[in-house]
């Protein structure tokens, strides 16, 4: 089984620990993972801001970079959703515009092989107990694209509930958007911050020292607000929790 890591541009540049955690975790589960260096970004910021044609070269790059792998695994709900939901859409639009079926074919090629991390663990590898150890209370924020586009359901919670030492603390209003929304955060800063403040408030009221999600971009927004408020709550990507063990406990960001 040839497995490639699609680390995403945000994780590559700002959250390399999350990428390293995926490598550590998958290796521990007996899966060797490659990092094809031709990968960059799925094109989501372009597409969602209205620059569909600017996302096309990045879609072609994605297909090229990950050609020949059985599975493409990404620690990001929204990037996985971009590939699965919007690549086929981009293909259909290009065809409707009389620009041929090439993009549609590329979409068909990559969509069935692209997995968000929790899907890959639960659906492909068939594991929920990954042998992790994380002795802290954790509250989980289901990010919108994981929840409503990928339909991750309770996969993340099932994985978390098997982590030794971890206490999963329920979050009020969990399924409400945190207000990040990509370029929304800077185009509509007032509403984005109001949403983020409300989310941060719910997170703080859990009393958990850690808030976990499957998207670092949302955690960047939530953590940015928590940090500005001087809250002690730490945002941690699910992959980093699952990668931690008694022998190699979670050490925080390096």
């Amino acid at each position: 089984m040839r497995v490639a890591l699609f680390v995403t541009c945000v994780n590559d540049t700002l959250y390399p620990d999350t990428g390293r955690a995926v490598v550590t975790l998958l290796r521990r589960l007996g899966v060797e993972v490659d990092f094809p260096a031709a990968q960059t970004c799925c094109g989501q910021p372009q597409f969602n801001t209205g620059y569909r044609r600017q996302a096309e070269p990045l879609m072609r790059r994605y297909a090229r970079a990950f050609a020949g792998y059985d599975h493409i695994v990404t620690p990001s709900g929204s990037c996985a959703a971009m590939v699965r939901d919007n690549y086929p859409r981009m293909g259909r639009r290009a065809r409707a515009e009389g620009r041929g079926g090439h993009l549609a074919e590329l979409a068909e090629e990559v969509v069935p092989r692209t997995w968000e991390l929790t899907e890959f663990l639960v659906d492909v590898l068939g594991v929920t107990d990954v042998g992790a150890y994380f002795p802290y209370p954790v509250t989980y924020h289901p990010t919108c694209h994981g929840l409503r586009l990928l339909r991750l359901g309770d996969r993340p919670q099932r994985l978390l509930s098997q982590v030794r030492g971890l206490e999963l603390v329920p979050l009020t209003g969990a399924e409400e958007c945190c207000g990040f929304g990509g370029t929304f955060a800077v185009k509509n800063p007032a509403v984005s911050s109001a949403m983020g403040d409300d989310k941060a408030g719910h997170i703080r009221r859990t009393g958990a020292p850690v808030v976990c999600a499957v998207d670092n971009s949302c955690l960047m927004h939530i953590g940015g607000i928590l940090g500005r408020q001087g809250a002690g709550t730490r945002p941690v990507h699910l992959a980093e929790i699952l990668a931690a063990t008694e022998e190699q406990p979670y050490g925080g960001p390096r």
Binding site: L14, G50, R148, A185, G224
Partner: protein, 493 residues
Amino acid sequence: MSGRTHLGMPSFPDASRTSTRNTTLRANLGHATRTIRGKRDRAVAELADWDRLRAAGAAVKDRTLRHLDHYLEQLEERVTAAGGRVHWAPDAAAARRIVTDLVRATGEREVLKVKSMATQEIGLNTALRQAGIAAYETDLAELIVQLGDDLPSHILVPAIHRNRAEIREIFTTRMGDWGRPAPEGLGDDPAELAEAARRHLREKFLRARVAVSGANFMVAETGTLVVVESEGNGRMCLTLPETLISVVGIEKVVPTWQDLEIYLQLLPRSSTAERMNPYTSTWTGTTDGDGPREFHLVLLDNGRTDTLADTVGRQVLRCIRCSACLNVCPVYERAGGHAYGSPYPGPIGAVLTPQLRGTGTALDASLPFASSLCGACYDVCPVAIDIPEVLVHLRERVVEGGPATVRGTRTTIRPAAGHAAERAAMRAATWLLDHPGALRSGQRLAARTRRLHPRRLPGPGAAWTATRDLPRVPAESFRDWWRRNRPEEGTDR
């Protein structure tokens, strides 16, 4: 007398900068939407076949829209045969003119209004007032808005932004200007407020000879119009006057009564969280000695045919105005309905208004961006309108321009003003991301200078750092770490 309109309103980001700071509004909307969200979820969960109902609701609307010309002609023929008259209004101005002329012809100086989105859309009350005709809203929330010289902020509950204390204040100070004043010592108990409104409206119901309504549905096979409501004021307006004028968007037609059955299940559970709608009124033309003697149906296009020409955007014409998307929208809940600068607020407004009105003003061009694309609206939509898909589609029209149909003519829209810098930045970002070597250099530069990064960013970044800390740039990107640890692995291509 209400004179506020949506003309010249600020863009969504500007309007919401003010409205998000209004703590009363935030409290009113937060409470109201949370309550109705929960009720809606329970009402929908009761039906085992909700998903199939929803799919049927979408399919029937799609099929009807594909053959809209056929069903509208059938409707016209049946309404006419039943004693009604049909008028075709290509735009808002035509609709205003038709209704004003019809009211003038009766010689009356006042009309009763049944709550109607279409008449809000065309600005009918203002037009009537300019013609010397008083239009009285009879829906409780619409009355609150009218008395308060306010604008509606919600499709179902136009005064959702008001609380009991504010409503009591409006009734006490303004009711007398419009008719029977509020009783002395009016309190803010909902039942007491409703009783004051009932007494105020009752004399109008018994006096008025002309009513103006919209309609939720029009059944083509019999020429029947349908209004669903909760208060009974609509029933009064539809039965007591001599003349009834209904202004209805052309997308409201359904082929048969059997089709109607789907929507009479979908709509109440989605909008008011009721299993069945309390007052469902249907009428077909006129009937001697029973109800209005004269019935006029004004069919409104006002951008709907143009919308129908757009293969992605046309799905918004399925909308049955239930408002479930507003009640679940985190953006609407915090910005409030007025920030959308249109009778259609919330997610549906953000996809409907820029199609009906175009994207020519700063406000209308900002609406497709008034969403975090969280997808909650799509989940609850009873006719499965993929609102996020249409939002992104309209964003493209705003920033890149492209083909669109305007007043029946296929044209190429130019990008909206003010997006040139963003367009250049996006193109630069795409170039960078399509050159991994350059990306790596950028990452290394950022890592080397990380101690110098400011806590507050200039330019567009200031919008981020005003309320949020920046993430710290790590000493090494993932890609560099991988290369250091696995030199035999792939190279940048």
